[in-house]
Amino acid sequence: MPTQSTDAVEEVRDMAKEFYGGFVPNQIKVLNEHSPAAARTYIATMDLVEQGELPDHERETVILTISRYNDCHYCTRTHAFLGRQAGLDQEAIQAIHRGGLPEDDRLRNLVKATRLLLDKRGWLDEDDLSNLQWEGIGKTELYEINTLIGLKIFSNYVNHVAQTEVDELVTENPDIQEMWPVLGKMDW
């Protein structure tokens, strides 16, 4: 198996610190240990998708939906934390985690669209597209949801295999601790 060059590993660590405000998330450490290129891919692409058209709280809603769909212990908890920072309320996050729908119409429609895309593996027919359009979900939203599905499949699968430990920054957050009955506390 290829050995990772020290330079490549350090470059990614520096890139992560810059992107995450001096902090290197455990998921990036896990990726960087075996493939700095994969770690770099994740950091760079998440940076780009954050520059897309969906506002932060809508993007986090979609990410939570995908991560719950794939049962990713790391991303459901990490994006519960990031979702709170982006302005999502506890109830919306917990509804998604329970497999339900948020009360807010716009978030509800984004969750429904994300689940529809995943359930049908992207094969939406004319009726689907028309119904979604009626609910305010057009191609801008669908194309960004698809992009997020791709990025989260990548990280969700990595975390399944690596059993990545959830970062203390997340587990020690009071909002997250309040949500343990729904999110489930990880016993490491």
Partner: protein
């Protein structure tokens, strides 16, 4: 629409591929994020554990898995450029096994990861590692699964025309995956 992201996609894709692929011409009308994410990931993964020919084995497997005509043709062209024999490309697009065990291990790791949604057990991981697909390769396969899921899903909606310079490749392929006859929703959650 025009934004910093869409302009970046136009410039970077033209430099990397010679032109902006039709799929990203379509997405750029609505948002620059898909194209920008794709070209950035494609460039970053070129420095990974998987060599270009390995990458194309994985990408052709995924194009077939998603029944994506558009991705099948693009990656057939890129696979030829990477040195994969035409007969192997046809076998991958037909879902047939390939003779080289390392390449077959890449195919199996890709399909197993898709079917199990990344829940690979320790015995499976050991088997792949023994056949040359270790953790680093697997993580890069996961990245490609993500990329091809998003381009596949987007192609299903956008139905882009195969790019002009690739039409001769499309014509030369024995079998090109396409939309399945029946599409059923497998509902996991409410909504």
């Amino acid at each position: 629409m025009s934004s910093a992201l869409t302009r970046d996609v136009e410039q970077t894709a033209t430099e990397a591929y010679g032109a902006v692929p039709n799929l990203f011409k379509e997405t750029n009308q609505y948002t620059g994020a898909p194209g920008a994410v794709y070209v950035a990931a494609d460039a970053a993964l070129m420095d990974g554990n998987l060599r270009p020919v390995d990458q194309q084995v994985v990408l052709l497997t995924l194009a077939r898995y998603h029944n994506s005509r558009y991705d099948s043709v693009i990656h057939a062209r890129m696979a030829l450029d990477a040195g994969l024999p035409p007969a192997t490309i046809d076998r991958l697009l037909a879902g047939e096994t390939v003779a080289d065990d390392r390449r077959q291990a890449l195919v199996e790791a890709t399909l197993k990861s898709c079917e199990e949604r990344g829940w690979l057990d320790p015995e499976t991981l050991r088997d792949f590692e023994a056949r040359g697909v270790g953790r680093g390769e697997l993580y890069e396969i996961f990245a490609f699964i993500g990329l091809k899921t998003f381009t596949g899903f987007t192609s299903h909606i956008a139905d882009p025309e195969v790019d002009g310079p690739l039409k001769d490749v499309e014509a030369s392929l024995e079998e090109v995956p396409d939309e399945p006859e029946t599409i059923e929703r497998q509902r996991l959650f409410m909504g």
